[in-house]
C-alpha cells in the first residue's frame, strides 16, 4: 500500500508556516513570562523564609548522619543487631499506638455522624432553605480550614491535657472535611426518587431517608474510611501539643536526642499507617467493589 503525502504549493505553505511560527512564538513568550514571574516569586519567598544555602550545604551532612544516628544503639551497634534493646519500650509504645488508633476511630466516627447530620442542609438540591445552607456551609468551611492541631491546642486548654482534646479536635476537623464531601455526593444524587417520595405526601425527613440515603450511603462509608486513614496520621502528632497518643513519646524522644527510640517509634508509626491503609483499602474493596477508590 503506497500512500503519497501531498505537499502544498510554496506560497500557500509559506503563509501557514508563518502562522505556525507566530503561534509558537506567542506560546513561548507566555511561557517565558510565566516562568519569570514564578522565579521572581521564588526569590522573594527565599528571602522571606530565610533560606540560606550555605547553612543547607553545611548541615545537609547532618541530615544524613541524623538517620545514621537514629539507627545506632547507645553501645555503637546498628539497631537491628539487637531488636530487644531497640524496641525496649514496645509495651508502652504499643499501648500508646492503640490509643492513637482509638483517638482517630472515635474522632472519625463523631465527625462522620456530625457531617451526616449537617450535609443535607449544605447540599444545593436538598437544603430546606438558602439561609440555612449558607450558614451550614460557612460552618463546615471554618471547621475544615482551621488545622486540626490548632483546635487541639485550644481544646487542651479548655478540656485539659489528654486524649479527649485530641478526639474532639479530630472530630471537628473531620466534620468539616467530610461534610463537604458528603454534600457533594448528595448533590450528585438522582432527584427522581425524591420527587417520587414527595408525591406520596412524605415530609422532608422521609424524603431524605427513603429517597436520598439509599443512593449515597455507600459513598459516605467510603469517604469515612478514607478519612480514618488520614486521621491516624493526624492523631500520631496530636501528642505534640499534649492531646494524647504516641506523639508525646515521639516529641520527647526527638527533643531529648534518644536516637534509637526515634527510629523505633517512627517505624511503628509507619508500619501502623501501612497496615491501616491496606486494611481500609481491603474493606472498601469488599464493601463497594474495586472501582469506588478513585
Amino acid at each position: 500500500m503506497a500512500t503519497a503525502v501531498s505537499i502544498l504549493p510554496e506560497p500557500q505553505l509559506a503563509v501557514l508556516t508563518e502562522a505556525y511560527r507566530k503561534a509558537v512564538a506567542r506560546k513561548r513568550l507566555r511561557l517565558t513570562m510565566a516562568a519569570a514571574v514564578f522565579f521572581a516569586a521564588l526569590v522573594v519567598a527565599a528571602i522571606g523564609a530565610e533560606v540560606n544555602l550555605r547553612t543547607f550545604f553545611k548541615f545537609f551532612g547532618n541530615f544524613l548522619s541524623y538517620f545514621d544516628r537514629i539507627l545506632t544503639l547507645e553501645d555503637g551497634h546498628r539497631v537491628w543487631t539487637n531488636v530487644g534493646e531497640w524496641f525496649w519500650g514496645w509495651h508502652k509504645w504499643l499501648w500508646l499506638l492503640g490509643e492513637t488508633i482509638l483517638i482517630s476511630y472515635v474522632g472519625t466516627l463523631m465527625g462522620a455522624v456530625l457531617a451526616f447530620a449537617l450535609n443535607f442542609f449544605a447540599a444545593q438540591n436538598t437544603s430546606p432553605g438558602p439561609w440555612l445552607r449558607f450558614i451550614v456551609r460557612r460552618l463546615l468551611e471554618f471547621a475544615r480550614t482551621v488545622p486540626g492541631i490548632v483546635f487541639a491546642l485550644i481544646f487542651v486548654i479548655a478540656f485539659g491535657l489528654g486524649p479527649m482534646a485530641g478526639v474532639l479536635a479530630i472530630a471537628i476537623h473531620s466534620t468539616g472535611a467530610l461534610g463537604k464531601l458528603f454534600s457533594e455526593i448528595v448533590e450528585n444524587a438522582d432527584m427522581k426518587p425524591v420527587e417520587g417520595v414527595r408525591s406520596t405526601g412524605a415530609s422532608w425527613l422521609s424524603c431524605m431517608r427513603f429517597a436520598v440515603l439509599p443512593q449515597v450511603s455507600a459513598g459516605y462509608a467510603s469517604y469515612a474510611l478514607l478519612r480514618f486513614e488520614i486521621n491516624v496520621r493526624e492523631a500520631s502528632v496530636m501528642g505534640f501539643v499534649g492531646a494524647g497518643g504516641i506523639g508525646q513519646e515521639l516529641v520527647v524522644a526527638i527533643r531529648k536526642f534518644y536516637y534509637s527510640d526515634v527510629s523505633a517509634i517512627l517505624l511503628t508509626i509507619i508500619v501502623t499507617v501501612f497496615i491501616i491503609d491496606i486494611g481500609t483499602g481491603w474493606l472498601r474493596g469488599r464493601l463497594f467493589g474495586r472501582d469506588i477508590r478513585s
Partner: protein
Amino acid sequence: MSQLPKPDREQLRTKYPDVFDRPASSRLAMPAMIVGAFAILVFGLVDLEFSPSKLFNGLHQLGWITLMMIPPDPGASLPLYLSALGETLSIALLGTTLAAIMALPVSLLAARNIVPSSFIRFPVRRFLDSIRGVDTLIWALVWINVVGLGPFAGVLAIAVSDFGAFGKLFSEAIEAADKKQVEGIRASGGNALHEIRFGLIPQVLPVIAGQVLYFIESNTRSATIIGIVGAGGIGLQLAEQIRVLEWQKVSFLILMILIAVAAIDWISTKLRFAIIGQRAVA
C-alpha cells in the same frame, strides 16, 4: 381511573425468593457491623476517659474562650503578624517547588511504563510510601534538629513530606499517559530520551502543574501549623498567643489564616483553569 390488580404475595414470593427470604447472613451483616462499630466507640470513649462532667466543664470553658475572642484584635503586633504570614506563604511556595523538582526524576523510576523492572520500582515505591507515612510535623522536628529553629526547617520539612506525595502522584500521571504518542516518536527514529521529552512530558506536564498548584494551596494550610513546633511562620505566633491566653490575638490570627487560605485557593483555582482547562479540574 383504573384499579391496579391486587398483588399476589405468594406468587411474588416464589418469583423473587432473594427479596423475601434473604439468608440470615446478609440480613444480619449490616446490624452486626453497626453494633460492632458502636461497641468500639463505647470502648474508646471509656478508654480515652470521656466523662459527661469533663465534657460539660470543657464546653463551658470553650464558651468563655469564644466570648473572649470577640472582637479579634491584633494589638500592636499587626506588622509582626503580617510578616509571619508572608513567611508562611514563602514556606509553602518554596517547599512545594523543591518537592516537585526532587520528585520528578524519582517518579520516573516509580512509573511502570518507564521502568518495567519491578526490582527497581518496588523499593522506590515503598520508599515514597514510608516518607508519606510520616507527618509533616514530625519532619519539621527532625529538620529543626538539623538546621536549627526557623522557617528554613519548615521549607525542608514540607519539601520532604511532599516529595513522597508528589513521587506517587507524578508516577500515576505518567502511567496514565497515552502510549501512542511515545510510539510515534519511536517510529520516527527518536531515542529513549526523545520519547520522554517529546512523547511523555507534553502529556504529563499540565497534570503535574495542576497537582503542584493544588499542593501549594494545601501546603499553605500545613505551613500554618509547622510553626507550632518552632519551624517558623504564623503557627509560631499562634501557638505562642494560645499558650499565653491572648484570645483576641488568637482569633485575629485564625482569621488571617482563613483569609490567606481562601485567597490562595482562589488564585490557584484560576491558574489551574488557565493551565489545564475547565473540565480537567476534578
